[in-house]
Subunit: 191 residues, 2 copies
């Protein structure tokens, strides 16, 4: 049986939405864990765009995919997710089924390089535009690390000001150690 975790929960939401042939974005490639999951869901004919500002993240993820041969579905882009609107081809705008954000720092990487709230919020605005009808954005946020508490609060504020006619927002948290425990935000575009 599966052990429940917020990461698994995010994946379970996405499994219901993301099918072979669809297009997805991993806004924060990091160690490539979510990227691999997205590629598996859309293979063999779909498309995943993966963004990360760190070369180490892009390279290690590319290495991971060369082993698994999912590379033809994947486009890795060393750039800020704040620029995703400019980078994603215009014909895909409004056709993205899933956009994943995993905030914070690269596991095993430089903890001083964290997602910046301003660029995260810019990216989230873009994500809402890029999303298809019924498509979802998932955001894992970690209030437990330095700067993460503020970032989580700002993401929550951003969610709360979204137009509820067009977006449905669910927030998931664990009861244990409430203040610093990760939060999962799931946003579905209604139409």
């Amino acid at each position: 049986m599966q052990r429940i975790s917020l990461v698994n929960t995010a994946h379970n939401f996405i499994k219901e939405i993301l099918h072979p042939g669809a297009i997805a974005i991993d806004a924060t490639v990091g160690n490539g864990h979510d990227t691999l999951f997205l590629v598996k869901q859309v293979s063999p004919s779909g498309k995943v765009f993966g963004f990360d500002i760190q070369q180490a993240a892009i390279e290690s993820t590319r290495a991971k995919f060369l082993q698994t041969q999912g590379m033809k579905c994947l486009t890795l882009i060393q750039a800020s997710h704040a620029d995703m609107s400019d980078i994603i081809p215009a014909n895909h705008h409004g056709n993205i089924s899933v956009i994943m954000f995993n905030l914070g720092y690269l596991p095993g990487g430089d903890k001083n390089i964290i997602t910046c709230t301003d660029s995260t919020i810019t990216a989230l605005h873009s994500a809402c535009e890029l999303l298809s009808s019924q498509g979802i954005i998932t955001i894992m946020a970690y209030p437990g690390h330095s700067g993460g508490d503020l970032e989580t609060a700002q993401v929550k504020n951003w969610c709360e000001q979204l137009d509820k006619e067009h977006f449905k927002i669910d927030i998931i948290y664990s009861v244990d150690n409430k203040d610093s425990a990760p939060r999962l935000f799931v946003i579905q575009k209604m139409h």
Copy 2:
């Protein structure tokens, strides 16, 4: 694509845990919607026990199952879920993979007959004992109806006092209309 709702979210958690041959309990049969879902998951060889104090709920659910021929997996019991420990055969104790609670009143039924918090808490204690390792309890609570606000608060308190070494508790809510919006509690028994 699936529209995200708390009911679908509860089902998505359960799908990861509940497989053919397993045993589940619907602690609040109501209109039989969740009962039907559980029977589909455990069929053809598993078992679902469904509890409801209202004869109308038991009868309409039985009628629903006579059409779908899932009846051989299902035992419907007109009794309070507070008595589930006494009613579920002893050889199943500790072997139940999923126990669902949907609090409040029977849709379309008498709104004066609502789940009673005392019996709900008694049933939740029993549910923790009946659950298998890695098994989950899902609780849908509706703070929007009369008495539902107090019941939801008491369920939340009960969750918070659970031993975090043995139980993992996730709470899911929608941002829209926060105070009266339904809450989903998901409790997984660790060992």
